[in-house]
């Protein structure tokens, strides 16, 4: 506990103090700073270049006349005729005499599976983190943390296999589901993969809440439960939200588990016990067969761009929310 309230000088103050004390080290400092900055920019450049590359491969979808007629914006997003005597529908069937390229069932599938996963993983992960940081005795916390983090190390293909063989039968038998493989199953399996993310990030957020706040709460007569729920949890809310966003992003991009457990039928349906096909699983399942440079190829890259933008918007929105909240708290006079 006391280690949390030790005053730590700001890193910049340390750096400046160091360079003043040893003027001859200034050059080394500069070089190191340059190297660190360069490393940071490599990260940024990688992200930008990846986006540029996938966007470049997706571009013929909008520029090439033949591809544009096969996959116009209306064909990508609006209901289209698909069978005589049937109403127009949103169908994903890019390999066909008349390709049907609606991305709506894929986006819906991604949203369904990720929502189930996040809805299951966030309560469990946050509660576990709160327990670990506020209630668990030290020995238990030191056991709990590595074990939960070990779960993060389970390869997703193993989780997918577990879902496909064991979990699917158990879920179908206990809820009498019509489909063995469905969005719910994929979501449940994926929640196993993202609980450790939620747990780790939320736990870090809880531990950074200053100990003095807890002491103040106890001094006012607060119980441990009241302190945890009314003081620590609200104070760490930005961190917890960050955990949710990270989890959702990971869930939306997760491939192997959904490929194995979701049934992969590109359905437009609101039910979570129907099969679902996600964007990531579609890219993985269909990339092997496409002719490089064809419409289907550009289309899969376009799906990649959609996924990328989705995660970018998600992160940016969450970031803005967190900043606004921190500013409000600082405005209120809290440390």
């Amino acid at each position: 506990m006391p280690d949390r309230v030790l005053p730590v000088p700001h890193p910049r103050r340390l750096l400046q103090g160091g360079s003043r004390a040893r003027p001859r080290g200034a050059l080394t400092d500069k070089l190191v700073e340059l190297a660190v900055t360069a490393a940071a920019f490599v990260g940024i450049a990688a992200v930008v270049l990846i986006l540029l590359f996938i966007a470049k491969e997706a571009l013929p979808l909008f520029l090439d006349p033949a591809q544009r007629s096969d996959a116009s914006l209306a064909k990508l997003f609006l209901p289209q005729p698909w069978r005589t005597g049937q109403p127009d529908a949103l169908i994903w069937q890019p390999v066909s005499q008349v390709p049907k390229v609606s991305v709506v069932p894929l986006l819906l599938g991604t949203l369904k599976v990720s929502s189930v996963a996040v809805a299951l993983a966030v309560p469990v992960g946050v509660a576990a983190a709160l327990f670990s940081s506020e209630f668990a005795p030290r020995w238990l916390r030191e056991l709990l943390k590595p074990v939960v983090e070990l779960l993060a190390g389970v390869p997703s293909v193993v989780l997918g296999f577990f879902a496909l063989t064991t979990l699917a039968t158990a879920l179908q038998d206990s809820f009498e589901l019509p489909y063995r493989l469905n969005a719910l199953l994929a979501g449940v399996a994926m929640s196993l993969a993202i609980v450790p993310i939620v747990f780790t990030v939320a736990e870090d957020a809880f531990t950074t809440v200053p100990g003095t706040w807890r002491e103040a709460s106890f001094a006012l007569g607060g119980t441990r439960w009241e302190t945890a729920v009314r003081v620590v949890l609200p104070a760490a809310a930005p961190g917890v939200l960050g955990a949710c966003v990270l989890a959702f992003g990971r869930a939306a991009g997760e491939t192997m588990i959904v490929l194995m457990a979701s049934g992969n039928a590109a359905l437009v349906s609101g039910s979570i016990v129907d099969p679902a096909r996600t964007v990531a699983a579609t890219i993985a399942a269909e990339m092997g067969e496409v002719v490089v440079g064809g419409m289907h190829y550009s289309l899969l890259f376009f799906l990649g761009v959609l996924l990328f933008i989705f995660n970018l918007v998600l992160n940016a929105t969450a970031g803005a929310w967190v900043r606004a909240r921190v500013r409000r708290r600082e405005g209120a006079g809290a440390p």
Binding site: W82, P94, R180
Partner: protein
């Protein structure tokens, strides 16, 4: 001794020509791997690598130049033929290497044992969706199909659905083995694939008049089973010598006997 021969093989490998790559149909991949093993045993200079991915994947790889031989469980499409002509300057060489019957699988507990082609068509198009519509219990039919790179998928779409789309709720799986496995676990499932793959599932007969025809060797060879098909190799117009040697082996009596042993049907 064994380790020594492995080391010798490794040392000797660079002296050999590039391995012959064969890619495509997941229906054929198991059989062609067996053929490759026997061919390499007979011909020490031959090295064959066989991978699956689906007929469409194999033909796309032939066009991209990343495979020497494409395996396909359906005849090449006009579009693919044109693209190969553009790539190689002449039409690709097509060789039928074995025959197969596409069988329909249901769970062993399903009381339905035979369906007409019209009933199968209505089920896979999604026009009817319950087993009670075709004389079974009142349960939802869980449809399994194959990923759209599969030749089996294209064959069933063309021959059964007359080029209409599969019902959107049909779940695509990555291979016939996966379909059989899924149907064996899904009590009300319905899937299809090469007749050779049936394990722990029931194979539906196809009702023609009074008779339910099963995909037996006789019915597939004489064409009375309605969904019989040839399985093909596609090669560039000027195949490499290694590809020619492998093709000669595949068409030999020994290789065709192996095909029969693996549950396929030989050409003769």
């Amino acid at each position: 001794m064994r380790a020594l021969s492995v080391i010798l093989a490794l040392l000797g490998a660079p002296a050999l020509a590039e391995p012959l790559t064969v890619k495509g149909s997941d229906t054929l991949v198991g059989l062609v791997q067996r053929w490759a093993a026997s061919a390499m045993k007979e011909d020490a200079a031959l090295e064959v690598q066989v991978t699956g991915g689906g007929s469409g994947t194999g033909l796309a790889a032939l066009e991209n130049g990343s495979t020497d031989v494409a395996m396909s469980s359906r005849p090449i499409s006009d579009r693919e033929r044109e693209r190969l002509i553009a790539r190689y300057g002449a039409p690709p060489r097509e060789v039928a290497v074995a025959r197969d019957g596409v069988a329909f699988f249901v769970n062993a507990e399903n009381p339905v044992r035979a369906l007409t082609l019209a009933q199968l068509r209505a089920l896979f198009l999604g026009d009817v969706s319950r087993w009670s519509d075709v004389g079974g219990p009142d349960r939802l039919v869980v449809l399994y199909t194959r990923e759209n790179s599969s030749g089996t998928y294209a064959f069933v779409r063309e021959r059964l659905l007359e080029n209409e789309e599969f019902a959107p709720r049909a779940q695509p799986l990555p291979g016939t083995g996966a379909v059989v496995n899924a149907v064996s676990r899904e009590r009300w499932g319905l899937g299809f694939g090469g007749a050779a793959f049936a394990r722990r599932v029931a194979t539906l007969g196809i009702q023609v008049g009074e008779r339910a025809i099963h995909p037996t060797p006789e019915a597939v060879r004489d064409g009375s089973y309605p969904l019989a098909r040839d399985l093909y190799f596609y090669l560039p117009p000027e195949p490499s010598p290694a590809a020619r040697r492998f093709l000669d082996f595949v068409l030999s009596d020994r290789a065709q006997a192996q095909a029969r042993a693996a549950g396929f049907f030989s050409l003769r």
